[in-house]
């Protein structure tokens, strides 16, 4: 019905959120004036460290099926309230059965990684088109390498092997990062590293992946799928495998491309990151604010969805794909098709 999926991100430490009738009152001691936002216009809350949410607001959101996610300043997921679980035991049962079936699991895992590789190649090819010289050569070569990895997927005999191909392809892709960054001298890019991220690009990617995870896990829960029973990433205690699975196809265009644009267009500067004594990097409060603004804006733009034959706003893509997955698991669709940009 309401297909808006408006997420309210609250990141200023010291802010508190209160229930006030059918609105949420946003309060910060240093800011005068009150901000009132109608609850009906908000589907999710995402709050960062140092923000207080009163219990009556939490419970009201739970009643309405509106989720609240808590994240660290770096975008690491900490907790989430969703209210009573959405009631579709048959869908969950189907999900578990497919997770137990080597064949069906393999098919979905292949689709998800194929989607990711396709979309990663698109990022490489697009930048290659707009560039020249050694960078263009390098990017095209990386795209070619990814094309070969796609072929490897066809020979994978288990979801684990698919995950192996994904790992190789991810390494190839991140190796091309220096060529995707036009200001690569300033923004040293050294493959993917995350604990802690040791350069601003990785710091930014970690943060955006955190945002993506919240969106994807929320979509899975909304549709009634169990985020912890995955196909590609399998089942591991405490690991939201299905959320990680479904994130894969979105990472290149919804997160990576945005990170690259922000750095290449100098919408973020060195001052938006702080270097930590342990060699890690994190976003400053101001940097996080800029990134969240850009993220929110990028969620508004629409992307062509070939299978549906229409455009879908970025914010709704995870929900659409979660639904397609649910319909596949329930036997309505013969295959799960990843979202592939075209």
């Amino acid at each position: 019905m309401t297909e808006l999926l408006n997420t309210l991100y609250v990141q200023t430490p010291g802010t508190s959120l209160h229930l006030d009738g059918d609105t949420v009152r946003v309060f910060h001691p240093d800011q005068t004036g009150r901000r009132l936002l109608p609850l009906v216009r908000i589907d999710h809350f995402v709050v960062f460290g140092g923000v207080n949410v009163t219990d009556d607001l939490i419970l009201r959101c739970a009643d309405d099926g509106r989720s609240i996610s808590w994240l660290t300043g770096n975008g690491r997921f900490r907790a989430r309230t969703v209210g009573p679980t959405t009631g579709n035991p048959l869908l969950r049962q189907a999900q578990h059965r497919v997770a137990d079936s080597v064949e069906q699991r393999l098919q979905i895992a292949v689709a998800m990684v194929a989607g990711k590789i396709h979309n990663s190649r698109q990022v490489l090819l697009r930048t290659a088109r707009d560039t020249s010289g050694h960078r263009q050569v390098a990017l095209r070569a990386s795209a070619e390498l990814l094309a070969e990895r796609l072929g490897l997927l066809g020979t994978a005999a288990s979801a684990n092997e698919v995950l192996g191909v994904e790992g190789i392809a991810a390494r190839d892709y991140f190796a091309a990062m220096p060529y995707l960054l036009t200001e690569s001298k300033e923004w040293k890019a050294s493959g993917r590293n995350k604990r802690p991220p040791t350069d601003p690009l990785n710091c930014l990617l970690s943060f955006l992946y955190g945002m993506l995870r919240v969106a994807v896990q929320g979509a899975l829960e909304q549709v009634g799928l169990d985020p912890y029973i995955g196909f590609l990433h399998g089942v591991r205690s405490g690991k939201p495998s299905l959320a990680l699975d479904l994130m894969e196809e979105f990472r290149p265009l919804l997160a990576d491309r945005l990170a690259l644009t922000l750095l290449n267009r100098r919408e973020l500067t060195r001052d938006d990151f702080e270097a930590l004594p342990n060699g890690g990097y994190r976003l400053t409060d101001g940097g996080r604010k800029s990134v969240l603004g850009a993220w929110q804006q990028s969620r508004q733009r629409s992307w062509q969805h070939v299978q549906l034959g229409r455009e879908v706003p970025g914010a709704l893509l995870p929900l659409v794909q979660a639904r397609l997955l649910a319909r596949h698991l329930r036997g309505d669709l013969v295959a799960y098709q990843p979202w592939m940009v075209s």
Partner: protein, 214 residues
């Protein structure tokens, strides 16, 4: 909403509201009562006013007429359960009134729901010769004779819905004009789930750069 309690007779109870959905689209019934999709959206749209005056339980008495709002009814024999917007009792006769936001559709799904309520009220010992569909849009009530035929139709629909719920079947989408007005459309994806074979795209062949803009 999908409370799957069993009637005393051991039948799995069918909510009266499901009868109306069933008449509209079998898949819609299954999406709501088997898959548990939605919850609020379709219901709030359809019964917008059920949260206003009609939904407040209440009893009024005037000149031999007792009017009860939001009355729970059930049939053990047929395994039905539901809530009537309004029932008017006069001596041994009960007259259910079903409130609809839109215009009245003769022969439409609301009549089935009304007849389901009638079935429950008959089992409770009342005569139910007539029911009414009150159209909020038109601000008037339309009489619906509760015929044996209509009641038979309810029993058949209830059996069909029970079958869906018990077996967890998900019928193929209709993908016709009704889908355009259906509030479950986004969850149903009728263009893809109407049972026509879907082409599976080749996922392993590299594609050229697409048209997407930044």
């Amino acid at each position: 909403m999908t409370d799957d309690s069993q009637a005393d007779s051991g039948l799995r109870e069918v909510p009266l509201s499901a009868l109306e959905h069933y008449d509209y689209c079998h898949r819609q019934t299954a999406l709501i009562h088997v898959e548990g999709v939605w919850s609020e959206s379709a219901e709030t749209v359809r019964g917008d006013l059920s949260h206003t005056a009609v939904d407040l339980p209440g009893i009024q008495r005037r000149r031999g007429l007792t009017v009860v709002r939001s009355l729970q009814v059930w049939s053990h024999v047929h395994g039905l359960r539901g809530i009537c917007d309004v029932v008017e009792f006069e001596q041994g006769t009960a007259t259910p009134v079903e409130y609809k936001v839109g215009r009245y559709l003769p022969g439409g799904p609301a009549e089935l729901q009304l007849a389901g309520q009638a079935l429950c009220l008959i089992e409770a010992g009342f005569a139910v010769p007539t029911g009414y569909v009150y159209s909020v849009a038109e601000r008037r009530r339309h009489p619906v004779p509760i015929t044996a035929e209509l009641l038979d139709q309810v029993v058949r629909a209830a059996e069909a819905v029970r079958e869906l719920i018990v077996t967890g079947t998900l019928p193929a989408a209709r993908n016709d004009a009704r889908c355009r007005k259906c509030s479950l459309r986004e969850d149903c994806l009728p263009e893809l789930t109407d049972g026509r074979r879907q082409a599976i795209p080749d996922l392993l062949t590299p594609r050229p750069l697409g048209q997407w803009r930044d």
